[in-house]
């Protein structure tokens, strides 16, 4: 059986000359292909804090925490790296033109302490002026108001937050008392209190 041996010998000699096929990682770093789906990364400027990514994630790897401090209300978005399956559903569902959370190229994510395996960003939150519960993130209300155009004047929550942000609101408009009457209609309220102030006949 001479001929088969020649076939295998040429393959073996070729392998001897070109060297081993494996790379010298970690001495030489490995750069992944640009198409590789790596770690999702939040973008604090584009993310609006709408929680669409959390709702859609199949592995429940995105969570949030609302901190209801009256002086600095904020929503913390958390992404758990150890639970993530890198599928890209969050990026596809993001309402801010798929830019709020994006899959980067990072793959070298090993860690020793599992409780540290999370990334967070903070978004400013608006609280209801009667009960103090969260309404929505400021950027989210701005996103809605931009798309509604002049229709956003139908809801005081929307137009007040927009005008406040533009810096052209008059503080006299917002009344200081809480009496569930007409003055309460011009406040930033959560849905329950919006219903109570608008529908009451007191």
């Amino acid at each position: 059986m001479k001929l088969p041996k020649v076939r295998e010998l040429t393959e073996a000699l070729k392998a001897l000359i070109t060297g081993p096929y494996t790379s010298k990682f970690p001495k030489k770093p490995h750069i992944a292909h640009p198409n590789f789906r790596g770690q999702p990364v939040f973008n604090p400027d584009k993310c609006v804090g709408c929680l669409a990514c959390e709702y859609v994630c199949p592995a429940e790897a995105i969570g949030h925490e609302d901190i209801k401090d009256p002086k600095n209300p904020r929503r913390v978005m958390i992404h758990y790296t150890d639970t993530c399956i890198f599928c890209g559903c969050c990026e596809a569902a993001c309402i801010a033109d798929n830019e709020g959370i994006k899959l980067s190229n990072e793959w070298d994510l090993a860690f020793f302490d599992r409780s540290q395996a999370q990334e967070t960003i903070e978004k400013e939150l608006l609280l209801c002026e009667i009960c103090g519960e969260p309404v929505a993130c400021k950027d989210h209300l701005k996103w809605i108001a931009e798309r509604l155009g002049e229709l956003s004047y139908s809801s005081p929550t929307l137009y007040l937050s927009r005008l406040k942000e533009l810096g052209i609101i008059d503080d006299n408009i917002i009344a200081a008392s809480r009496d569930y009457s007409r003055s309460d209609r011009v406040k930033i309220l959560c849905a329950r209190h919006r219903r109570e102030t608008t529908l009451s006949t007191k």
């Binding site: 295998e8 292909h33 198409n35 859609v56």
Partner: protein
């Protein structure tokens, strides 16, 4: 001569997944075989009832690492069967490309492992070096080497960019000369002939009685293949052959798988070069109450999914059947009568994928295993001792 029990598994250096075979041996000949499975049971059918239809695709993909495309393919066909729609043409072509790429890498993986089980480690290393090219191709096309996350009921989730295609075609073409050399080296080798020819024969009648599937059945003369009998994707638009041989021994199973790799390369290249323009998704919104059945050809046989919907956005019942579930009982017909040293290669020749076979679990829906590695070793040792005591042997 006294009979003895040879346990293979559950943790055995020759197997890549845990299963427990009990061979009753008389001298060197195997007299009886018993299979115990259940070590990989993960609760996927119950878990699928708590996720929505779109999210369930990702759970289904992770039933198996090697045949990970065939399960979402069959599942999306089942959901589309409930509403009786067909996805757009570009989506069908992309689905076919991903499925065939996976078939190539799965067959090459099996070929390497078969060489390893025989003790032929050179074949193992060379074939897995060849397999790296295909894994790089899948990374360019879908973003990951396994678990491609491309399927969605109604179409595909991501598109293939046309500037990637020439590089991919070049990589696929570079595999073929090495594959030719490998094919000749494997099929001409006298040692492999002596070890593989004439053992582990599965007759045609047994293959029909056990309802065997895939290359295991096609090596015995049963000419059934879902891609030809019930054409889906782009399989009816490409000219390709189904490989069927007659004898049913282990050597024929190797031949069937190697020749199928060539056909897969042909299909994949044709689909990449003739990709039509158009939408990639139908945007299905609601699934009405009903039931649907979807099938797909995995590298190991036919996968079967049955989905029942009750009008909400979660499946009411999802039944998964992997091909190894039907192929595994055939070991009773093929191993009995052979020698112990041939038993491992015969058991490996059905290309077993135990992760696909058992899907329920001793694990809760989101977190840790309830049995860790130490527990499993202790349990398996207890079980071997128990079986020996029951049979009255020491």
């Amino acid at each position: 001569m006294a009979k003895s029990v040879v346990p293979i598994g559950p943790f055995h250096p020759l197997q890549e997944e845990p299963e427990f075979f009990t061979l009753t041996v008389d001298g060197e000949t195997v007299v009886d075989i018993d299979v115990n499975i259940g070590y990989n049971h993960r609760g996927i059918e119950k878990l699928s009832e708590r996720k929505s239809f779109d999210q369930s695709t990702f759970v289904i993909e992770r039933i198996c690492g090697i045949c990970s495309t065939s399960h979402p393919f069959a599942y999306t066909r089942a959901v589309e069967d409930i509403i009786q729609v067909k996805p757009p043409e570009r989506a069908e072509y992309i689905r076919t490309i991903i499925a065939e790429g996976e078939r190539i890498h799965s067959h090459l993986l099996w070929l390497g492992l078969a060489g390893h089980f025989l003790g032929y480690n050179t074949v193992y290393m060379w074939v897995w070096k060849l397999r790296e090219e295909i894994l790089d191709v899948m990374e360019i096309l879908s973003g990951n080497r396994n678990s491609y996350a491309m399927f969605k009921p109604g179409g595909v989730r991501r598109d293939i960019k046309s500037e990637d295609i020439p590089g991919v075609i070049k990589k696929i073409d570079s595999i073929v000369p090495t594959l030719n050399r490998l094919k000749k080296a494997v099929l001409d080798d006298p040692v492999l002939h002596a070890r593989l020819k004439g053992i582990g024969i599965l007759t045609y009648e047994d293959a029909i009685d056990y309802s065997a599937l895939g290359p295991t059945a096609r090596a015995s003369g049963v000419a059934k293949d879902v891609r030809k009998d019930d054409p889906y994707g782009a399989y009816d638009k490409v000219d390709w052959d189904m490989i069927v041989t007659k004898t049913g021994d282990v050597f024929e199973k190797v031949v069937v798988r190697v020749l199928e790799t060539y056909e897969s390369i042909k299909i994949m290249k044709h689909c990449l070069l003739n990709l039509p323009e158009g939408d990639i998704d139908l945007n299905i919104k609601d699934i009405p109450p009903g039931e649907g059945i979807g099938t797909a050809e995995a590298p190991r046989g036919e996968t079967f999914h049955y989905v029942r919907s009750d009008g909400t956005n979660r499946p009411a019942r999802h039944k998964v059947r992997a091909p190894t579930f039907m192929n595994l009982p055939t070991c009773k017909a093929t191993v009995v009568g052979e020698t112990v040293s041939d038993a491992t290669i015969i058991l490996a020749s059905i290309d077993p994928c135990y992760c696909c076979t058992e899907r329920t679990a001793v694990r809760d829906t989101r977190g840790k295993r309830l049995y860790a590695a130490k527990e499993l070793i202790r349990l398996s040792q207890q079980k071997t001792a128990q079986i020996k005591r029951k049979m009255g042997l020491k």
